[in-house]
């Protein structure tokens, strides 16, 4: 009883420590990226006021003067930077003069679609990778093994946007099974349930295109990880105890073999979010990636910088998620130094 409560006390402490570590890392990353954004605005060719206004060429002197005053562009750089960081911390991401709206409201409007897409792709890649990799590892050496290696090599070399287009060509243009682009069918009255189903149908192709390469990586990793674990002593012990094959796979092999995959998934979160930008462009998915594309066409810097910041935050959130998963499944370590 006492030992259990000490144990749980230690656990709470470890979790608190980890959360504190993550918070420090989170703040550090946000500040560094904000500083980076600031440097970029000043490194861009031309007057920073013009950059903030959206490099339209239509240099409305009144607006530029107003911007210079508002952003204190005549003050020394350190003060400008401090002001900028202060605004970022208070969630003021600036104003898009091109769209006549605050950047925060633009991002907030597009955020759900991006979160839906990246979360679906991430879960799809992780879950299917773990399941397929385990199957391949348990049945190592069969033809499915070779097939898996070839498919993952091919996917690893495929540009994600091209894969998306090819899936559109096959499933939308040729077979007409799935919608080719968009988020939801427009102009059709639908109940909430129908609407969710419709969004789900639109989600399939982008999510699969985005997940495909990670699915391949995780499957291969999981396969070799399962093979490694299978040959360790504690599995022999489990077999000697007379445990059933299914139980050994799920309780002993799977749980241990998943750890490296979760680690890699966390490390690749940044690449996944970057891929989402391209995929949203391909499928006209109304998320942050699409917002970047439109902002690029208009050279709308405040939007670009804001999205960069928010997407970095999404990556940190995914890192946090994989770290939490790691803690839950790792059978050995309950306290891991916050890093």
């Amino acid at each position: 009883m006492t030992s259990a409560s000490i144990n749980s006390g230690g656990r709470v402490f470890a979790v608190a420590l980890a959360l504190a570590g993550w918070f420090v890392k989170f703040v550090a990353v946000v500040l560094v990226i904000a500083t980076f954004n600031f440097i970029l605005v000043h490194a861009a060719p031309g007057d920073p006021a013009q950059v903030i206004a959206g490099q339209s060429g239509a240099s409305d002197e009144k607006l530029l003067a107003q911007l210079r005053a508002e952003y204190g562009l005549d003050k020394p750089y350190p003060i400008q930077l401090a002001n900028y960081l202060k605004r970022v911390v208070t969630l003021d991401l600036g104003y898009s003069y091109r769209q006549q709206r605050t950047v925060a409201s633009l991002i907030l409007e597009r955020l759900p679609a991006t979160l839906l897409l990246t979360a679906t792709a991430f879960t799809l890649a992780l879950l299917s990778g773990i399941i397929l990799g385990t199957l391949a590892g348990v049945r190592a050496g069969k033809w499915s093994d070779t097939l898996l290696t070839i498919v993952s090599l091919l996917l690893y070399a495929t540009p994600v946007f091209w894969l998306g287009l090819m899936l559109v060509l096959l499933f939308s243009v040729q077979l007409d099974w799935l919608p080719a682009f968009g988020y939801v069918t427009i102009g059709v009255p639908m109940t909430t349930l129908q609407r969710m189903g419709d969004i789900g149908m639109h989600l399939i192709l982008p999510a699969v295109s985005l997940a495909a390469v990670y699915l391949a990586i995780y499957t291969r990793l999981m396969r070799s990880s399962v093979l490694d674990v299978t040959h360790q002593d504690f599995i022999k012990t489990a077999k000697a105890k007379g445990l059933k094959q299914g139980r050994i796979i799920i309780r002993h092999i799977l749980r241990n073999a998943m750890l490296p995959i979760v680690t890699v998934a966390g490390m690749q979160a940044g690449a996944l979010v970057g891929g989402a930008v391209v995929i949203e462009t391909v499928f006209a998915w109304p998320g942050l990636g699409r917002l970047i594309y439109d902002a690029l066409l208009q050279r709308d810097y405040p939007v670009l910088l804001g999205v960069f910041l928010v997407m970095s935050v999404i990556v940190i959130a995914l890192n946090l998620l994989t770290d939490a998963i790691y803690r839950v499944i790792d059978p050995r370590v309950s306290v891991r130094a916050a890093s």
């Binding site: 090599l153 070399a157 540009p159 559109v168 243009v173 997407m311």
Partner: protein, 276 residues
């Protein structure tokens, strides 16, 4: 020589090498194979593959898709190789400093590396190119900036491993300059895993370049595979070939480089497992 021989016996590595050499030859001979500017209109628009004089068809402005692919090969390979060299310079320098000195220096260097790994690299590349302008040198710089962290980590690990070895200690004790120790003693022994990872980095640099030019951030004066796909994307219902062939070109090139990289890995680091 024995390394070369064992690579020649590596089946998939050889397949990759043959495909890669084909792409290189295509890139080098493009000005003779397709002397016309790949941006010029050479036939009617929307000609399907195998039409008169257009093996791979023409695009919506009557440009030769095959010519675009041949000229695009040059851009992809040049950007892939030079941006990887850029990221090698950054990554190996940072990794070497961190691994050689260790301690506080190592910690600072690794924090920077970690930070760059957290930032979504592709979006950073987009921002950089959009800010400093879509010129080929800027694109190379941007890809180099976002690709170095894995190289830094690898170099650091190798340097840490070699730092404590007797021959390095001996060189230090003899009073050799740290730069000499790093460049003449440690680096030559750490070079083969760096070569392997570097060769794989060329493949991912080509993928980043294609995605950038797909997004409209390619050099507007240079024909590239990503640009061709991006431009043809809206007409994919009517004209599949305009997107399919450039994509296949990227796929084959990247696949070939990956196969060569894996072959190099198996021949140069026979004891290190493939999993890395």
């Amino acid at each position: 020589m024995s390394t070369l021989k064992s690579f020649l016996r590596h089946p998939t590595g050889m397949i990759g090498l043959i495909v890669l050499l084909t792409v290189v030859i295509l890139a080098v001979t493009a000005p003779w194979l397709f002397p016309d500017d790949p941006w010029d209109m050479v036939g009617a628009p929307f000609q399907p593959p195998l039409s008169e004089g257009l093996w791979l068809g023409s695009d919506m402005l009557g440009r030769d898709v095959a010519a675009g692919i041949a000229h695009g090969a040059r851009i992809s390979l040049i950007i892939g190789v030079i941006s990887t060299l850029t990221s090698l310079v950054i990554g190996v320098t940072i990794g070497a400093i961190a691994g050689y000195f260790g301690g506080k220096v190592d910690e600072v260097m690794m924090r920077i590396t970690e930070l760059f790994q957290t930032i979504p690299g592709f979006i950073l590349a987009i921002l950089l190119v959009a800010t400093i302008g879509p010129k080929i040198s800027n694109i190379i710089f941007a890809i180099g900036i976002v690709s170095w962290p894995p190289l830094a980590r690898l170099t650091r690990a190798e340097f840490m491993r070699l730092r404590g070895r007797e021959f390095v200690q001996a060189a230090v004790c003899q009073g050799q300059h740290p730069l000499t120790v790093v460049l003449r003693r440690i680096l030559p022994n750490a070079i083969s895993p760096i070569i392997v990872t570097g060769s794989l980095a060329v493949a991912s640099a080509i993928l980043i370049e294609s995605a950038l030019s797909f997004m409209g951030l390619g050099d507007p004066n240079l024909m590239s595979w990503g640009f061709m796909i991006g431009a043809a994307r809206t007409v994919i219902r009517q004209a599949w070939w305009m997107s399919v062939f450039p994509g296949l070109a990227i796929l084959l090139t990247v696949l070939a480089i990956n196969l060569v990289g894996e072959g190099l890995n198996d021949t140069l680091n026979p004891r290190i497992s493939r999993k890395r």
